[in-house]
C-alpha cells in the first residue's frame, strides 16, 4: 500500500511481521508480540487452518476447515496435501495420483497442472490460495492491520525446485517473502529462545503430515548453527494413515467389487477414518476405525490396538531413524553427544515414534511446546530478527542436498556440498572436450548420487561464444551462488576471453516471472470479490483508526488550526463516519484519501506541539 504506519499515539509496532508454517495437512501463522512469538488465533479457534481446498462445480473455492468438513460429502472436488506436488513433475507424483480427485497433467514446460472444472491450475496457485487464507485470517485477527511481510517455512529437505515453488506461491498470494527458512531450524529457534546463554547440540526430529526432517544444530552464544540435515520429502503422517487404510481395504476386499473399492467417497472416508483412529491411538491403547458410505450402503467398523498399529508402521519409523543416522554421521557427532532432542510435527504425538526416537538418542525429548505450533512460532522469531528487532540471535542454516554440474560421461562434479552453510558460493573450472568447440551445455543437478541421471536436474543452460581453440584449452568458470533462502543462481564465464553468460537457472517444474505475473492477474479475476471484500475490511479498520486518532487529538489542537483547515477536516471526518461500515471499496478509498489530506494540518500542528507525535496513516515522504 506504500504506507508506513506512524502510529506513535497508538503505540503500534511499525514493523509488524509474521511467520507462516505452510504445512501438508495444516497451516498456521504466528507473530511477535510483547517480546515473544505468539500464534495468531481468531477468538475461540486454534489458529490452525487445514491445508484443504474444495472446488464445488459451481461456486467459489473454499479453503480450510469448511473444505475439510465437506470432504466426505464431496470427495471428488476436494484437494488435500498439495504440498507433495510442489516443484515436482508428473513422474514424481504418480503414487499420489491414485487418491487425487482431479485430473493432473504436465505442461510442455514440465509444469504440473490440475484440471479443475476445465481450468488448469498449478500447485503453486493452489498453495497460494491456502497462504492467502492463512494470511487473510491472520491480518483480520490482528485488527485488520496490513502485514505484507512474512517468513515462510519449508521442510529442510526441500530441494531448489520445491523452495522456488513455495516462494512463487507466496508471491502469488501477495505476500512479501522476507525469508524462506527450514521447519526444523525454525523449531529450534522457538525452543532455544530461553536457552541462548547455554549451549549445546540439539537434534530436531520433525515428522509432519508429508515430510520428515532431521536437523542437528549447535547452539553457542545465541548462534544457532545447523551442522547437518537429512530427511525424506515423501514420508510423513499421510503414510502412517495409508498403513491403516490397508487394514480397511483388506477388510472390505471380500465383500466389495474392485469398482466399489475405487469409489472416491469410500477412499476419502477411509482415509479420514484412518487418520482419526491414528490420533485416537496416541491417547488410548485401543481405538475404532468407523465410517459410513451411504451411497454404497457401507458401514465399516473395526477395532485396532496400539500394538497392531505399531506393528504396521514399524518399518516406516525405522526409515526415519536412517535419516537420524545419516544426519549424525554428517555432523561428525555420536548419538550420546546430543544434549537436547526436540520433537516437531503432529506425527511425533504417536507414542511409538517418541519411544523409538528417545531410545535412539538416549534422551527424553522436549515436548513443552505444541508440536503443531512450534514451527510457526520459530518463523515469527526469525521474522522479528529480520525486521531488525533483535541482534541477540543468529541462524546459520545449510543446504540439504549437494549441487553440481553434469560432466562428460554423465557423472556429477559437485560444486557445493550438502550441509554447506548458506548463503554460499563456489566456483568450479571446466573446459572444452572437442577442438574448436564454441559452446558448452551445462546441466545443473541436485543430489548425492554419482551419476547425473540419478540426481534431480534443476535446469540446463548453454554458454556460447567461446573462441575456437584446441580441446581442453578453454577455461570456463562456473559460479554457484546459493542465497539466504537456499535458492541457487548460476553464472558461467570463459576466462581467457571474459565471455560470460549470467543465467538464472530456471527450474524444471517451476514458474518463470511471466508465469507469476499472468497468474497474479488471473487470480485477481478469479477471486476479485474476495479480494475486494478483504480490502474493504482492511480499509474500514484503517479508516476507523484514523478517525479515532483525529477525534482524540482534534480538541487539543483545535485552536492551532486555521478555520479553513478545520472545516475541511471536520467535513472529511463526517464523510469517513458515514462510509465506515458501507463495505464499498471505492467509497472507503475516497474517504481514506480525503481524510488523509485533510488531517495533514492537524498532524503538522501536533508535530510542533507534542514533539514528534504523529498521526496514523501519514506517508513517510511527507514526514
Amino acid at each position: 500500500m506504500g504506507y508506513i504506519e506512524l502510529d506513535v499515539l497508538n503505540n503500534a509496532d511499525p514493523s509488524l511481521v509474521m511467520g507462516i508454517d505452510l504445512g501438508t495437512t495444516n497451516s498456521l501463522a504466528a507473530t511477535w508480540r510483547d517480546g515473544r512469538p505468539v500464534v495468531i488465533r481468531p477468538e475461540g479457534a486454534s489458529g490452525s487452518i487445514p491445508s484443504v481446498i474444495r472446488f464445488p462445480p459451481d461456486g467459489k473455492p473454499v479453503v480450510g476447515r469448511k473444505a475439510r468438513e465437506q470432504a466426505v460429502a464431496d470427495p471428488s472436488h476436494t484437494i488435500f496435501s498439495i504440498k507433495r506436488f510442489m516443484g515436482r513433475g508428473l513422474d514424481d507424483v504418480r503414487d499420489d495420483l491414485a487418491d487425487f480427485p482431479f485430473p493432473v497433467s504436465e505442461s510442455a514446460d514440465g509444469l504440473l497442472q490440475v484440471d479443475i472444472h476445465g481450468r488448469l491450475i498449478t500447485p503453486q496457485e493452489l498453495s497460494s490460495m491456502i497462504l492467502m487464507r492463512v494470511h487473510d485470517i491472520a491480518c483480520r485477527t490482528q485488527g485488520g492491520a496490513q502485514i505484507p511481510r512474512a517468513v515462510i517455512t519449508v521442510p529442510a529437505y526441500f530441494d531448489d525446485a520445491q523452495r522456488q515453488a513455495t516462494r512463487d506461491a507466496a508471491r502469488l498470494a501477495g505476500i512479501e517473502v522476507m525469508r524462506i527458512i527450514n521447519e526444523p531450524t525454525a523449531a529450534s529457534l522457538a525452543y532455544g529462545l530461553d536457552r541462548t546463554a547455554e549451549g549445546g547440540k540439539i537434534v530436531v526430529y520433525d515428522l509432519g503430515g508429508g515430510t520428515l526432517d532431521v536437523s542437528i544444530l549447535s547452539l553457542e552464544k545465541g548462534v544457532f548453527r545447523v551442522l547437518a540435515t537429512a530427511g525424506d520429502t515423501r514420508l510423513g503422517g499421510d503414510d502412517l494413515d495409508r498403513a491403516l487404510v490397508t487394514l480397511i481395504t483388506n477388510g472390505l476386499a471380500e465383500q466389495l467389487s474392485t469398482e466399489d473399492m475405487a469409489d472416491p467417497g469410500l477412499q476419502q472416508a477411509a482415509r479420514l477414518a484412518a487418520e482419526r483412529c491414528k490420533i485416537d491411538l496416541s491417547a488410548h491403547p485401543e481405538a475404532e476405525i468407523s465410517f459410513i458410505v451411504p451411497h454404497r450402503g457401507i458401514h465399516f467398523r473395526r477395532q485396532v490396538t496400539r500394538e497392531e498399529f505399531e506393528e504396521l508402521v514399524s518399518a516406516l519409523i525405522d526409515k526415519t531413524l536412517d535419516s537420524c543416522r545419516l544426519a549424525l554421521s554428517d555432523s561428525g557427532l555420536e548419538a550420546r553427544e546430543i544434549d537436547e532432542v526436540v520433537l516437531v510435527g503432529g506425527s511425533t504425538r504417536i507414542p511409538a515414534v517418541r519411544a523409538r526416537v528417545e531410545a535412539f538418542f538416549g534422551r527424553e525429548p522436549h515436548t513443552e511446546l505444541n508440536p503443531d505450533e512450534v514451527v510457526a512460532l520459530g518463523a515469527a522469531v526469525q521474522a522479528h530478527i529480520l525486521a531488525g528487532g533483535s541482534r541477540d540471535m543468529l541462524l546459520l542454516d545449510v543446504i540439504p542436498l549437494s549441487l553440481g554440474i553434469e560432466t562428460m560421461g554423465g557423472s556429477v562434479s559437485k560444486v557445493i556440498l550438502r550441509n554447506s552453510t548458506i548463503p554460499c558460493q563456489a566456483t568450479e573450472g571446466f573446459t572444452t572436450y572437442a577442438d574448436n568447440q564454441t559452446g558448452v551445455d551445462f546441466n545443473v543437478v541436485q543430489g548425492e548420487r554419482e551419476l547425473a541421471a540419478d540426481c534431480r536436474s534443476l535446469g540446463n543452460f548453454r554458454l556460447t561464444g567461446i573462441p575456437p581453440m584446441p580441446a581442453g584449452m578453454a577455461r570456463v568458470a562456473v559460479r554457484f551462488f546459493v542465497d539466504a533462502d537456499g535458492l541457487l543462481r548460476v553464472t558461467a564465464r570463459e576466462e581467457s576471453t571474459g565471455h560470460s553468460a549470467d543465467i538464472e537457472v530456471h527450474p524444471k517444474h517451476g514458474l518463470c516471472d511471466a508465469d507469476v505475473d499472468r497468474m497474479l492477474e488471473e487470480s485477481l479475476e478469479f477471486a476479485r470479490e474476495d479480494y475486494e471484500a478483504g480490502m474493504a475490511a482492511n480499509l474500514g479498520t484503517e479508516l476507523g483508526t484514523m478517525l479515532r486518532a483525529c477525534e482524540r487529538n482534534l480538541e487539543a489542537a483545535r485552536a492551532e488550526l486555521d478555520p479553513e483547515s478545520l472545516a475541511d477536516l471536520e467535513e472529511a471526518m463526517a464523510a469517513a463516519r458515514s462510509v465506515a461500515d458501507s463495505g464499498s471499496l471505492a467509497a472507503l478509498q475516497a474517504a481514506r484519501d480525503s481524510l488523509e489530506v485533510a488531517s495533514m494540518p492537524l498532524a503538522a500542528a501536533l508535530m510542533d506541539d507534542v514533539a514528534r507525535a504523529a498521526l496514523s496513516g501519514k506517508k513517510l515522504d511527507e514526514v
Binding site: R179, V223, R325, L326, L386, A387, R391, L394, T421, P423
Partner: protein
C-alpha cells in the same frame, strides 16, 4: 593482499592496506571491521585464507576457524541487513557467501589440501592421478570386497563382514591424512617435490573417502532392510 574498499567512501590516503579506514584497527577479514562493524567490499575476491585473515598454511586450528566464522557472521550476515538499503543487503549476502564458501574449503582437510597444493604450484588432480605405491595391491582387494558385498543380498554374511573393512579403511584414511599433513607442514616452497608427494597422499584420502561412502550406503541399506 586485498585492498578493502568501504562503500561510498574514498580510499584511505595513508596507504595502510590492512587497517580499517574508519577506526584504523587492524582488519581480521577483508569483509568487515570487527572493531567498528563497517562492511567492506574487497576489490578482488580474497583467497579462502585471506577471507579468514589466516596465513596460507595447511596446518590450521579448526576451533579458531570456527570462532572466526561465528565472529564474522555476527557482523556481516544478511539477516542483520534485511531492512538496510539494497546495496548493503547485497554486500552482506555476498560477503557471507564468500566467507561460507571459504569455510567449506578450509574446514575440510582434503579440500584445504587440494587448494594449498594448487596455490603453491603443485600438480593438479588431473596431472597426478597416482596413489602412493603401497596402496596398489590393497586397492584391488578392497574393491573386490565392496563389489562382492554390493551383489550379495542385504543381511547376508558378506555384508556383515563389512564392519571390519570399514574400520580398516577409516584407519588408513587417518594415516593418509597424517602423511598428507607431514607433506604440507611446514609449508613447502613453490614447486617443492613434497607437493607431488602431498598430491599422492591426497589421492589416497579421496579414494578412501569414496570407498567409505560406498560402504556407508550399503550399511544404511542393511539397516533399513532389518
Amino acid at each position: 593482499m586485498v585492498t578493502p574498499q568501504p562503500e561510498g567512501s574514498p580510499q584511505p590516503s595513508d596507504g595502510n592496506q590492512s587497517g580499517c579506514p574508519y577506526c584504523e584497527q587492524r582488519l581480521e577479514t577483508p569483509f568487515c571491521c570487527v572493531s567498528c562493524g563497517q562492511l567492506f567490499r574487497p576489490a578482488e575476491e580474497p583467497t579462502p585464507f585471506e577471507a579468514f585473515g589466516l596465513p596460507l598454511n595447511y596446518g590450521l586450528d579448526g576451533e579458531e576457524l570456527d570462532r572466526r566464522l561465528l565472529r564474522f557472521s555476527r557482523l556481516v550476515h544478511p539477516d542483520f541487513f534485511a531492512t538496510a538499503p539494497e546495496e548493503q543487503r547485497r554486500i552482506a549476502e555476498e560477503s557471507t557467501a564468500a566467507l561460507n564458501g571459504a569455510f567449506e574449503i578450509l574446514s575440510d582437510d582434503a579440500r584445504r589440501a587440494d587448494w594449498v597444493i594448487g596455490a603453491l604450484g603443485g600438480p593438479s588432480a588431473q596431472e597426478e592421478k597416482q596413489l602412493p605405491r603401497e596402496f596398489l595391491m590393497e586397492v584391488l582387494e578392497w574393491g573386490e570386497r565392496i563389489e562382492e558385498a554390493r551383489e550379495s543380498p542385504p543381511g547376508s554374511e558378506t555384508r556383515a563382514a563389512l564392519d571390519g573393512l570399514v574400520s580398516t579403511l577409516s584407519r588408513r584414511r587417518g594415516q593418509s591424512l597424517s602423511q598428507l599433513n607431514a607433506a604440507l607442514v611446514p609449508p613447502p616452497t613453490e614447486r617443492d617435490p613434497r607437493l607431488t608427494e602431498a598430491r599422492h597422499r591426497l589421492n589416497a584420502v579421496h579414494y578412501l573417502g569414496r570407498a567409505l561412502a560406498q560402504l556407508e550406503a550399503l550399511r544404511l541399506e542393511q539397516a533399513s532392510s532389518r
